[in-house]
Symmetry: C2
Subunit: 130 residues, 2 copies
Amino acid sequence: MLLQIEFESDIPIYLQIKNQIIRGIATGSLRLGEDLPSVRQLASDIGINFHTVNKVYTQLRQEGWVVVHRKSGVMINPELKVEKNTDYIASLEDSLSNITAEAFLRGVTKEAFFHIVEKHYAGYIKEGRE
Amino acid sequence: MLLQIEFESDIPIYLQIKNQIIRGIATGSLRLGEDLPSVRQLASDIGINFHTVNKVYTQLRQEGWVVVHRKSGVMINPELKVEKNTDYIASLEDSLSNITAEAFLRGVTKEAFFHIVEKHYAGYIKEGRE
C-alpha cells in the first residue's frame, strides 16, 4: 500500500490515511481481505506517532472497512458490505450541500461538477463487491 | 441570519458556522453587502466563545467571502467574485475523490449522487452575481 502523506496539508494526517485507504478499496488497489501493516509498522514507515495510526484503524474498524484479529492483525474486511443507512445519506447530503455551494460561488458549473464525479466513479470497481 | 449549530456534531463549530454562511450566500438567504453580526454579538447569540466566531470571520475574509470595515463591521463582500483558481479545483477534486469513493462503497449509485448535486444546484441563485 502506497500512502502519500502531505505533512503541510490542512487535512489532519489521520484523515489523509483513512481517506486513502477507503479510496484504495473503491479503486481496487486494496483488495478485500488484504492485510494492512500493523499499527507500529505503518507508523514507523510513515514516520508518525503510532497513536495517529491507531486512530485511523479504530475508525475504519468502527465503520466496518477493516477487521482486526488478535493474531493475524488488521485486514480489509473480506466481507465488506457497508450499509447505506439513513445517517450516512444525511451526512452525504450535508457534505454535498457545503461543497456544491462553494463550487457554485467559485464558478464551477453543475456540468463541470458532474464531470469530476463521473471521472471518479469510472475508476471504481464492482467486481466481487456484491 | 439563522444559524443552526449542532453542539454534538463531529464537525467543529467554527466550520458549521462558516459552511452555513457560504451556503447562505449561494442560496441567497444572505445578500451581497448584507451586514453580519459583530463577533461578540454572534458569539453571544449562539452562546460560544468569541474566538470561535473570530476564526470564522478571519477565514471568510481571507477567502474573500466577507469584507471588514473598521466602522461598519463585517458584511458579505458586496463585490463577491471569487476566483476559480487552480488550488481550489485541486482541493475540490480531492474532496470529491474521498466522498465519491465512500458513496460508491456504501451503494450510492452515480445517478443517486448526481441527483443530490442537482437538487443543491437548483437552489443557488445567479442574480446579480456576475
